[in-house]
């Protein structure tokens, strides 16, 4: 069984962002990147599937990113993915076109399972998994916190606003990981060194026959800082008084 894990590199959330000169994007020059945390969870789940239900599984990490993005793909290799594929693309790309490129890769690789993050923590779109499943005509299971293999597919726990839903999907399928699916392992130093020897293939959207057709045009960005100044009160009574003055409680 082949498992394909889309891996996005995203700016490390623990840093202060700046905007570029015309405020249409963040200033990428001073940013450190990490593997999207939800994609790390997806890689971990693929590894666990290979360690338990499907020892023969081949795990392929795929990223659409500029050439430097290879560094973050190597994180997936160091965790234990078998090979990595970098689709080189400079600049912004929206979820629709990411899904189109991934679909083209999937037509070549023919995996049985796509395991990916529910959301990239830069655009916070939460769209690519659903778009991809729709384009492929495959069933989808989003926001997943547990996966069990059955004789004819996957039994899945999904985290919804109203509670945990259990569904069953046949394979091939697209599964998007929520935070509680697992806790990703850290790559050990030897595995990081070993990962340097694992193959990374490079391709481009054009080689896959895809010409991006933008659906989202970003006009501008604004950094949001706190507009508030905190008044410190010293007792619970004072706090209630302030809240009454603000007319938010009676």
């Amino acid at each position: 069984m082949k498992i394909l894990v889309p891996c996005k590199r995203v700016p490390d959330p623990d840093q202060k962002l700046r905007l570029n000169a015309d405020a249409t994007d963040i200033d990428g020059s001073a940013v450190t990147y990490i593997l999207n945390p939800f994609d790390a969870i997806a890689v971990e789940e693929a590894l666990r599937i290979r360690e338990t239900a499907h020892p023969e599984a081949e795990i392929i990490a795929v990223s659409i990113a500029p050439a430097e993005g290879e560094t973050d793909l190597r994180t997936a290799l160091a965790m234990g993915a078998d090979r990595a594929l970098l689709i080189e693309h400079e600049g912004q790309i929206d979820p629709w076109n990411v899904a189109r490129i991934l679909a083209a890769v999937i037509h070549q690789e023919k995996p049985a399972l796509i395991l990916m993050g529910k959301q990239a923590v830069d655009d916070d779109a939460n769209q690519v998994g659903q778009f991809l499943a729709a384009q492929l005509g495959w069933p989808q299971a989003t926001f997943v916190s547990k996966i069990e293999f059955t004789t004819d597919g996957l039994r899945i726990h999904r985290e919804t606003d109203i509670g945990i839903e259990i569904i069953h999907v046949t394979l091939p399928a697209v599964v998007t990981a929520d935070l509680r699916l697992n806790e990703p392992r850290y790559a050990s130093l030897p595995s990081i060194l070993k990962a340097k020897k694992k193959p990374t293939e490079h391709s481009t959207p054009a080689k896959l026959g895809i010409k991006p057709e933008p659906r989202i045009r970003l006009l501008g960005m604004e950094l949001i800082d706190s507009q508030r100044t905190c008044e410190k009160v010293t007792t619970a009574t004072d706090l209630l008084d302030r809240l009454r003055e603000s007319e938010v409680i009676e």
Partner: protein
């Protein structure tokens, strides 16, 4: 913008109140707003929806559970046959799953979690948070139809009409529906408190609370005194102390109540993303340097195990 289709979420019995936000947004853009309901035995829900807009129902036993591939298939067919230019829903896990897939069938011009809009030079400009709310982006969608989910806190439901709108039942050809997904069960933890996205006051607890009993006693107790919803940080969800449905933040729910009370929450960016647009924010934290105070209007430095009982007692006495 002419034809707008609003997708309404329901639990099989009633409309999800936050669905009203999508209708409110749609009404700001168009006079031709139609609501679409999918499910089985939709009579009472359709009657409720008809107070806000003309309603189309796809009412069929094969749609009894909101399975994404089936529902998205039907939504797509209706959107095409209605020539909808815009499809709107309120951003919830339901919408992210099902409306997201519909958008994937309809060409992918989708914006999620929209908080504001304007029409400039005939162009619909949308604003939405990115990077855990650190950035507010303005964008336009290229292509048609455009699919938009709005933050429940950003738009209000319109007033119900005195005379209900018409309800039209669509025919459903069950033989064409995808069948690769099977619903098994939903473990629905419905509490007596309002939903965190729909309450005027949210009392939220963080890692300061050591177990579920304490959370219920302190956070729940204070919420009940205030008629509020309870929320929580991811830390408590991870620890299994609170259910996922209470999680406020970048990867949970985005809320903007009149009052957000953060109890023993540090104020990580991912948490702030979910609550920083609340009207008034108050925080109790024993660490005077906790980042939550930078985003609060009122701060009390203290132990939640001591201060919360005082709040409950005073409210109880008044």
């Amino acid at each position: 913008m002419n034809k707008v289709l609003v997708l309404l979420e329901h639990d099989g019995t009633t409309l999800r109140p936050s669905s009203g936000s999508a209708i409110g947004f749609a009404r700001e853009l168009s006079d031709e707003v139609t609501a679409l309901l999918l499910g089985e035995d939709l009579g009472a829900i359709a009657a409720e929806a008809a107070k806000y807009a003309p309603v189309l129902t796809a009412d069929h036993e094969s749609l009894s559970q909101n399975v994404a591939d089936r529902w998205a298939h039907v939504i797509t067919e209706v959107a095409r046959s209605q020539n909808a230019e815009l499809i709107v829903a309120t951003s919830t896990t339901w919408a992210k799953d099902i409306v997201g897939r519909s958008a994937g069938l309809l060409g992918g011009a989708m914006a999620s979690d929209v908080t504001d809009h304007e029409i400039t030079d005939g162009q619909l400009r949308l604003r939405r948070p990115m990077f855990a709310g650190a950035v507010n982006a303005t964008l336009i969608l290229e292509g048609s139809p455009k699919i938009i989910t709005v933050c429940p806190s950003a738009y209000n439901a319109p007033k119900p009409a005195d005379i209900p709108f018409l309800i039209e039942t669509l025919s459903v050809d069950a033989s064409t529906l995808p069948s690769a997904t099977r619903f098994e069960s939903l473990d629905c933890k419905k509490g007596a408190r309002p939903d965190v996205t729909e309450a005027h006051i949210v009392v939220s607890g963080g890692r300061a609370f050591k177990n579920a009993e304490d959370f219920e006693k302190y956070v729940g107790g204070l919420a009940d005194q205030l008629g509020a919803a309870t929320g929580s940080s991811r830390a408590l969800v991870d620890a299994g102390i609170t259910p996922n449905s209470l999680q406020v933040g970048q990867t949970g729910k985005i809320v903007a109540p009149e009052l957000y009370l953060a109890l023993g929450i540090s104020g990580a960016v991912q948490h702030l993303a979910g609550m920083k647009n609340s009207r008034v924010i108050a925080a109790i934290n024993q660490d005077p340097d906790a980042p939550i105070f930078e985003f609060a209007d009122y701060g009390l430095v203290g132990d939640v195990y001591k201060e919360v009982p005082r709040l409950i007692e005073e409210l109880n006495g008044s």
